[in-house]
Amino acid sequence: MNVGIIGSGAWGKALATLVARAGHQPRIGYRRNPPGGIPGTPNLDTLVAESDLTILSVPSDAVESVIRQCKPGAESRMVIATRGLQPETGEWLSDLVVSLSPCRRVGSLAGPALAAEVVRNRPSGMVIASPFDEVCTLTQDALHSAICRVYTSNDMRGVELAGAMVLVLSMAVGITVGLDLGIGSRGIVITRGIAEATRLGAALGAHPQTFAGLAGVGDLVSCASHKDHPSFAAGLALARGARCPERFQRDAQSVIRLAQRSEVDLPLTSAVAAIATGELRPKLAFDALMRREARAE
């Protein structure tokens, strides 16, 4: 199988490694930096046309421009391996494929697979979610091997939302570490954060179990345990007084926009968004969360 991967960063290269380990032919599409050591091409539309499956691993704010450039067709199968939502609107990234191209066979890939560990043959796991069984089995086939377990799901919205929430919640865990709130606080943030993700997901028609799976709890535990993970590191820096880079503010705000449209209350996520934009100081925000009215779990 020819597998095209768009994005020559660490994650794109890690995916190429997994594809090769699964016995298939990876090729990386790039815009600026050739992948070095892996077959690559700057012609994204040709790459998509010649691939049986294309995986997108670019930042969420680049997804739209990449789709316009690579022009997937009716025959294409596209998988988004990018966490997050559309930065400006809070809409789904997978919807961009459908709204900008004739391509309909779309999926979302997420899970606790860290690029640095994948290239060192450490075990990893992911879930591929698509309403199309065909996209699920093709992606599973492209990536599954003795060092990477790939599970399938039909809950694409759930996996996309889980990925978006993981970005925000790992920032939250970073904040608790930076504030030295203790080990217990990580447990609280992870559990209550997943509860918020599940609540929002249920309101949007996702399966609650998705958030207890690889794309939810699995991914959050690994991101929140990895001191160099960008979102975690951003949270750590925020707690220590640094300014939050804009892309992390957008990550949080896009989830809040989605929650507002669905009229779902997300106190922890809202607190992180307020911290990220500088509206609230981290310590005050967490104090306020701890002083909320007692309730059932």
Binding site: G73, A74, S101, P102, R104, P131, F132, D133, E134
Partner: protein
């Protein structure tokens, strides 16, 4: 359809069923037949139809086959298929259609006067001024010559079929076959015309998979043979009055199957396109029963309402006289045609991508080498995409009428008067509470009219609201009040001095037509 082609369709349906059941394991086949026997026995327990005895005998014969063996079960399913195929077939005749359509205005008149007083509506009665037809009809006429069209209208009333039939006739579009509920054939005038204008029978009382599969196979077969087809994707008349958003995919999915079969037959089949169609009635014949049903707890159980206003011929006659005597009281809007995944198409029927560029849609189901890849699961998801595109089209193509916007404004005013009541409490307001201040209603109506204007300008809606001398909201209110008073025994909205009397249930029903339109802010 000639007798020869009837036999060939029946043969084809048995062939399809044979392929289906031969792939089933013994257990699956047992379950398939046993479900049919069980549900038919349930249905026939209370049936007083003339054919009930014969049907019971057939069911018991199938029941015996379950205990015999695989070969006997297969034969029993095929026997059922033969029976259902015969029942579903229509007596559609091209020649009769031509004759009937030339006489249609007169025929429509006779339809309406057939069951009541003999006084016809008069030779000068012209349905053309009462039923307004809109949309890209030239393009559709051209496409109908080279493509098979699937018309997908919204479903408001049992009068939708003759209204659409008239619209097709008026626009010079070819005949369409369509499934009509068996209960509709109880009305003798409707039965006569429906079977001759393409109606095949659908018995919604039969809920087992054997029947549903035969029905879908029939649809697939006829579309595959080039018959333009009509489905109501909402399945049934919308009880609440809202424009349907939850569409049934069963029959819609037969189009995509027929398409692939045509591709497999080395491209001999015609390409298939879908045409959304919205109907907007100033007044709805069955409004009172439908909203009652929507609100009542029994609503779900009464999926087939057979004892509503439509079943009373006199009521139909009075309604038709009153509604069809009102200018432009019914709007039929054909939408822009779509391919089977909901993509727009150009005048030649080529699919267009979001940038307006043509692309090859066969790639959705074919490999580069030209082989069709069968994947029913994939096709279900494709049909979901089509359903989404249709529901967007229904909202965008809806024509707002005065009765709808006034009813909605009146409902909003009741909500403002009684903010603590939910919908179910508000519809049960006591008679002395069922009114709003006229000036308050006009204010809210102005807010709605501004909103509708904005959306119309943005291409997100259509309107057919009165214009003329005088303040617009006053004109719209006056027209709505007149129209409501012409049919319903208790009008949705009526004048009484400085007050407007509101029937909450009818206001809810008619106002629900705007449920998909973002409500304007209340400016106070």
């Amino acid at each position: 359809m000639t007798q020869e082609s009837s036999r060939s369709v029946s043969r084809a349906l048995r062939g399809r069923m044979k392929v289906r059941i031969e792939e089933m394991s013994d257990d699956a086949l047992y379950s398939y037949l046993a479900e049919a026997v069980y549900l038919e026995r349930q249905r026939l327990l209370k049936s007083t139809d003339a054919t009930a005895e014969e049907e019971r005998a057939a069911v018991e014969s199938a029941a015996r086959a379950i205990h015999e063996g695989r070969a006997e079960m297969i034969e029993a399913v095929l026997a059922m298929t033969r029976t259902y195929a015969h029942e579903i077939h229509n007596r559609f005749s091209e020649r009769t259609y031509e004759v009937a359509t030339k006489l249609l205005p007169g025929a429509l008149t006779r339809l309406l006067s057939a069951a009541g007083p003999k006084t016809a509506l008069g030779p000068d009665f012209d349905p053309g001024s009462r039923i307004a037809v809109h949309g890209p009809v030239d393009m559709l006429r051209q496409l109908a010559e080279t493509h098979t069209l699937v018309l997908a209208p919204t479903h408001v009333s049992n009068l939708d079929s003759p209204v659409i039939g008239y619209a097709l006739y008026q626009t010079g579009l070819p005949p369409f076959i369509y499934g009509a509920g068996l209960n509709l054939f109880d009305n003798p005038a409707m039965s006569f015309f429906m079977s001759r204008l393409g109606a095949y029978t659908v018995d919604r009382r039969k809920r087992h998979r054997v029947y549903k599969d035969v029905l879908k196979d029939y649809s697939t077969e006829r579309i595959g043979r080039g018959a333009h087809s009509l489905f109501f994707p909402g399945g049934t008349r919308c009880r609440s009055g809202k424009i349907e958003t939850r569409l049934k995919r069963g029959l819609l999915g037969t189009a995509i199957q027929a398409w692939q079969e045509g591709l497999q037959a080395e491209g001999e089949g015609r390409e298939i396109l879908v045409v959304p169609c919205t109907l907007s009635f100033s007044l709805v014949l069955e409004a009172e029963t439908l909203i009652e049903d929507s609100l009542s707890e029994q609503g779900k159980a009464r999926y087939i309402i057979s004892d509503d206003e439509f079943s009373e011929p006199t009521t139909v006659y009075h309604f038709a006289r009153k509604v069809l005597n009102l200018d432009a009281s019914v709007h039929v809007r054909f939408g822009a045609p779509l391919d089977l995944l909901g993509n727009p198409v150009d005048a030649q029927g080529c699919s267009l991508d979001p940038g307006g560029q043509p692309f090859e849609r066969r790639a959705y189901v074919m490999t580069e080498g030209g082989d069709v890849v069968a994947d029913p699961q994939r096709d279900k998801v494709y049909t979901n995409h089509l359903a989404t595109a249709l529901s967007h089209a229904y909202q965008r193509d809806h024509t707002v009428l005065s009765t709808q916007v006034v009813a909605r404004a009146a409902w909003d005013c009741l909500t403002m008067r009684y903010p603590r009541l939910d919908t179910y409490q508000q519809v049960l307001l006591a008679p002395h509470e069922q009114w709003v201040d006229r000036e308050v209603l006009l204010t809210r109506l102005r807010e709605w009219l501004d909103q509708i204007d904005r959306l119309t300008e943005a291409g997100a809606l259509h309107q057919a609201l009165p214009k003329g001398e005088g303040e617009r909201a006053e004109l719209v209110l006056t027209e709505a009040v007149e129209r409501f008073s012409s049919y319903h025994s208790r009008p949705a909205v009526a004048h009484e001095d400085w007050r407007i009397l509101v029937d909450p249930k009818l206001a809810l029903y008619y106002g629900n037509r705007l449920a998909g339109v973002p409500a304007p802010e209340v400016k106070r």
